[in-house]
């Protein structure tokens, strides 16, 4: 009985810590408020109402999708002079904070 309980606890703990680890890994240092602040730089081009023409909407994007797209500019795999420059100065903390904020914003 007791051992079963311990066993379960360990499983739950493992699952839980794994989940934290997974989230942490994906969004290390992410801070919603910082993401919101940084997004001020983006909305000069990316229409905050999402109705932009010539520049795509970036709000409501899943974090993993967002990170992949930003990294494509950062590594210059995707070609666009302005976005390469924008991505160039975003570190991991910045990218993750933006991912968090933008994923939760319509």
């Amino acid at each position: 009985m007791k051992s079963k309980f311990v066993f379960f606890s360990i499983i739950i703990l493992l699952l839980f810590s794994n989940k934290i680890l997974a989230d942490d890994k994906a969004l290390a240092g992410a801070d919603f408020e910082y993401g919101q602040h940084l997004s001020g730089e983006c909305v000069t081009c990316h229409n905050s109402t999402g109705l932009g023409q010539g520049i795509p909407k970036i709000t409501g994007m899943k974090t993993a999708v967002f990170i992949k797209k930003i990294l494509a500019y950062k590594t210059k795999e995707k070609d666009n002079a302005v976005m390469q420059m924008v991505a160039d100065r975003l570190g991991e903390e910045e990218i993750n904070s933006l991912a968090l904020y933008l994923s939760k914003t319509k």
Partner: protein, 421 residues
């Protein structure tokens, strides 16, 4: 308490040093911010302070006009790529969505010792922090023979509005095969590529309706922004139409005569059938009145955009000396966000993040032929420092140039909704 990282460190410092200097909070009244000028810098600052403080700061925007006609894209209006209505914007969004108090009056003077702004009507508004973003005033007498009266004959059209409509009428009404003379301003001035985009758009008009017309550019400079790109575009789209003459070649504009439409230089006297003269520029006069200028422009502290003369006054946009950023709407919008974050931090103790500045300027050379230049900046103690940048290349393929033009349309819609909604 959040862990202290590079990004929050500045904020924690600011919060602890400003906590003692918040008398208005201590007495239960809201801290007050007054913004003078509802353009690219001022509208953005008013919005971000009001939006992010969620009612904790009382924000008043003093703007003379009820409608703001952007200078950006006024060249596209000249070239028939935009209509006039599409470059006009109102302030309802700032008032309704963010609770900004709109005061449509001239700020006639600033008493920085008493922290008061005097309005044209005689009323006063007091502030804890003042933002000044009045744009430019023109130095009419920088061109011998030019004057406020002359602007209806040879429009400068450098502050948008009816001047741009006047210029467009004169371009469209110019006699067939006539000569248009353009005088760009000397450095520093708002929108470095602007005069050359204007030349491109006037050439675009002529190509359609007056193909034997000529454009003579009498430049007080020997080089200009995106020169290689513009020159290449002019050669390609308007061969033989545009003659750009550098200062060293014409030796200086000695005198212009608005009744004979003559431009006297060492090289020759040029006769125009229509003309645009853009004189030298200085910070909007209210900045001089507030005593935050040093000569024609206003020195700032790069990390916050605070005036070097008064820590309770912030100067944004064209009026500021934001070296190495160019005077542009994009720059003003970027500076406004740095200032808004700093002002809110000092009034409410909210986090102040490390300043980040950016600029990109697109120009249209011809249909679907857009070019761009941009840079990132950070704050060094003595200047806003360029950290990286890019510029379009000569000989780029037409798909890229079209995409660049489309980007500029997206940017216009982005920045104007960022400013006004």
């Amino acid at each position: 308490m959040a862990k202290i990282t590079r990004r929050t460190f500045v904020g924690v410092m600011a919060a602890s040093t400003t906590a003692l200097s918040m008398p208005s909070i201590a007495f239960g009244a809201l801290p007050r911010v007054v913004v003078i000028g509802g353009g690219a810098g001022g509208a953005t600052a008013a919005k971000y302070i009001a939006k992010d403080s969620k009612g904790a700061v009382d924000v008043t925007l003093v703007e003379a006009s009820k409608r703001y006609y952007t200078c950006f894209f006024s060249n596209l209006y000249l070239g028939d790529f935009r209509n006039y209505g599409s470059i006009g914007h109102n302030y309802y969004g700032l008032a309704v969505n963010h609770g900004v108090n709109m005061v449509h009056e001239w700020a006639s003077s600033v008493n920085s010792a008493e922290k008061k702004v005097y309005l044209g009507s005689g009323a006063t508004v007091s502030y804890d922090k003042l933002v000044i973003s009045p744009g430019i005033d023109l130095k009419f007498n920088s061109v011998n023979g030019y004057s406020p009266e002359a602007q209806s004959i040879m429009p400068h059209a450098w502050k948008s509005g009816t001047q741009v409509q006047l210029l467009k009428n004169q371009v469209k009404g110019m006699k067939k095969g006539g000569t248009f003379v353009m005088v760009p301003p000397p450095n520093p001035y708002r929108c470095p590529p602007g005069p050359y985009e204007r030349i491109s758009m006037i050439a675009h008009q002529f190509k359609k309706t007056n193909p034997t017309a000529k454009i003579v550019v009498l430049d007080p400079k020997n080089k200009f922004s995106k020169q290689g790109l513009f020159m290449e575009g002019w050669q390609k789209h308007y061969p033989g139409m545009i003659e750009w003459i550098s200062a060293d070649t014409h030796g200086g504009i000695k005198k212009i005569n608005t009744s004979t439409m003559e431009f006297e230089t060492d090289l020759d006297t040029f006769k125009a059938d229509a003309a645009s003269v853009i004189p030298a520029q200085q910070a909007g006069r209210i900045a001089m009145n507030a005593g935050v200028n040093k000569g024609d422009w206003c020195p700032i502290v790069p990390a916050s955009m605070q005036s070097q003369a008064d820590e309770n006054i912030y100067v944004l946009g064209d009026a500021s000396i934001a070296k190495s950023m160019p005077k542009s709407g994009f720059s003003a919008n970027s500076q406004a966000k740095v200032a808004a974050n700093h002002i809110r931090g000092s009034l409410t103790g909210s986090k102040v993040f490390a300043p980040r500045f950016a600029n990109t300027c697109w120009s249209l050379v011809a249909t679907n032929d857009g070019i761009k230049v941009g840079a990132n900046y950070d704050a060094k103690p003595d200047k806003i420092n360029k950290t990286s940048g890019f510029i379009s290349k000569t000989g780029e393929d037409s798909n890229l140039r079209k995409a660049t033009y489309e980007e500029s349309i997206g940017w216009y819609s982005g920045i104007t909704s960022d400013m006004f909604s």
